[in-house]
């Protein structure tokens, strides 16, 4: 099957950007949550990050072909988080400029307007291992001035904790519009790259707080031919990625 000449889709740039989160991570567990982060982690594992460990989403550590190579029931998974040899990419219902994340509820916690998942493992994750976030639909509803409930701990909260937060690191954020990090003097969110077809103004308009933007913003890198082949014919031949991030222009 030839992939030459087929334009790279927004979803495919997102997969590439998510994969990059695990570049240089070494021999650690990659814990992607959501379809596109899962494709990214597996792509990284098959290309530039071959030492990554992956799970089957349940209790097994598996190689890319599905062969089990280890046992990781939830209890050991929680212990592994505390040990820090892990880089998780979580979702975020809300995310603020210092990386505080909310997946618990919207509105007043004591009687929420909208109950979501609960804090889950976000407090544990963010204080113990590298954490990234994936936002499939970049909007002012997600990127807010203040989150309603701090589940994942941001840089301002971590700074106030001192040594207790010595393992805290938010590696970055990938959205359908671009890539972001917190590498500014006050650890506020910064635009790192724009996916092709996205403008700085579009990102600013979809972000509910002032965003650090360098004078020259690079584009998210192009996928290599082998990466495109893996995404299109090995990892996601059915094109499920297009359901999480529709084709450019189809965004309502």
């Amino acid at each position: 099957m030839s992939t030459v000449g087929t334009a790279v889709t927004r979803a495919e740039y997102c997969v590439i950007a998510c994969a990059e989160a695990w570049r240089g991570a070494g021999e650690v567990l990659a814990s992607p949550m959501g379809l596109i982060p899962a494709l990214g982690a597996r792509l990284a594992r098959l290309t530039f990050a071959p030492d990554l460990l992956l799970t089957d989403g349940e209790a097994l550590l598996v190689r890319p072909d599905g062969t089990p190579e280890g046992w990781l029931p939830y209890r050991q998974h929680l212990a592994l988080v505390a040990g820090g040899r892990r880089h998780v990419m979580m979702g975020a219902s809300q995310l603020d400029r210092y990386g505080n994340q909310n997946i618990s509820c919207i509105g007043d916690w004591s009687r929420p307007r909208r109950q979501l998942l609960g804090v889950r493992g976000a407090p544990l994750n963010t204080l113990n291992n590298a954490t990234s976030y994936w936002v499939p639909r970049h909007s002012v509803r997600v990127f807010v001035e203040r989150v309603d409930m701090v589940c994942g701990v941001g840089y301002d909260r971590a700074a106030a904790l001192g040594d207790t937060a010595r393992f805290h690191r938010i590696a970055g954020v990938v959205s359908d519009l671009g890539v972001f990090d917190f590498a500014t003097p006050d650890h506020s969110m910064r635009l790192v790259s724009l996916h092709p077809g996205v403008s700085v103004e579009q990102v600013r308009a979809a972000t509910g707080f002032p965003l650090a933007v360098p004078d020259e913003v690079p584009r998210t890198r192009e996928p290599g031919a082998e990466e495109l082949r893996l995404i299109r014919t090995v990892l996601d031949p059915e094109g499920a990625r297009m359901r999480e991030v529709p084709a450019e222009g189809a965004r309502g």
Partner: protein, 283 residues
């Protein structure tokens, strides 16, 4: 050594309103649903429920049986948000102690070890501290001087769990890939009731399965209930997966309608109601 077999109704007869009740499994996985259904049929309420929440929490919350919930999440896994739990929260229908997944584990371990608390890093800096003003921190007495969260023991009056096999004495076996936290629930509770797919002779437990599958020790088990399909509609690997179609129906049907059809006289009536439901769908 006593025979600990009993019926789900006998289990419920040993529980009472106002108790703190632990429920094993995780999300929509290997939940002791037959015991939860027996609880629903009883008049027991005003419960403090300790659970990595799934439809167990959703059903008990919908029926108004939970006064306080202690949890890190409530989910149906394949349906991310538990609709009946959400509705209960959004109408202010229960009190909540919301902790992190790792804090929850430490709380179970502290209770099982008869410790007042265990230090954990998780929770610090998050709003778990804000919404649980009773939580305290503890400072390391060693040179590091680190300040950590002192997660209090999650001691329970009773625990309900479901496993694949058990003998009549209460030795419980998990044949799936994940034991979840069911042994800890049993050890952290004053009484523990185990339902299982099948009760077998003790010798049969290790005939084809390794000793590592023996999850529950009889000294931590009060009663054993044989409940085939007793985790339905959650998964019970390797014997059956989640009943996704039924779960979707549960998640999209008003509680009153669901309860009328599926909280009948006993477990046999439940099985019959599910069979009838399936026939209608296929019909």
């Amino acid at each position: 050594m006593g025979d600990k077999t009993m019926t789900a109704e006998e289990v419920v007869s040993r529980l009472a309103s106002g108790m703190t009740l632990g429920i094993g499994g995780w999300g929509s996985r290997r939940k002791p649903m037959a015991l939860v259904r027996a609880l629903l049929r009883s008049g027991i309420g005003d419960l403090t429920v300790v659970s990595y929440g799934g439809p167990d929490v959703g059903m008990l919350a919908a029926a108004g049986r939970i006064r306080r919930l202690v949890t890190a999440f409530v989910t149906l896994d394949s349906v991310p948000l538990e609709p009946h739990y959400r509705a209960a929260r959004e109408r202010g229908g229960l009190e909540l102690t919301e902790v992190d997944e790792g804090m929850f584990l430490s709380g179970l371990q502290a209770a099982a070890h008869r410790l007042p608390f265990l230090p954990v890093r998780a929770g610090a800096g998050s709003d778990v501290m804000r919404v649980n003003p009773q939580l305290r921190t503890v400072t390391s007495p060693y040179a590091d001087g680190e300040t950590l969260v002192a997660m209090p023991a999650l001691r329970m009056d009773a625990a309900l769990v479901h496993v694949n096999r058990a003998d009549r004495l209460g030795n419980g076996q998990c044949l799936g890939p994940d034991p979840y936290f069911d042994d800890l629930f049993c050890e952290a509770a004053d009484a523990a009731f185990v339902s299982c797919e099948r009760i077998v002779d003790t010798a049969e437990l290790t005939k084809e399965a390794p000793p590592q599958s023996l999850l529950l020790k009889r000294l931590a088990v009060t009663g054993v209930v044989e409940a085939p399909n007793g985790a339905h509609f959650t998964s019970c690997a390797p014997e059956y997966g989640r009943d996704e179609e039924f779960q979707r129906w549960y998640a999209t049907t008003p509680w009153a309608e669901f309860a009328e059809r599926f909280t009948g006289a006993d477990e046999a009536a439940y099985g019959e109601a599910v069979r009838r439901w399936r026939k209608e769908r296929e019909g």
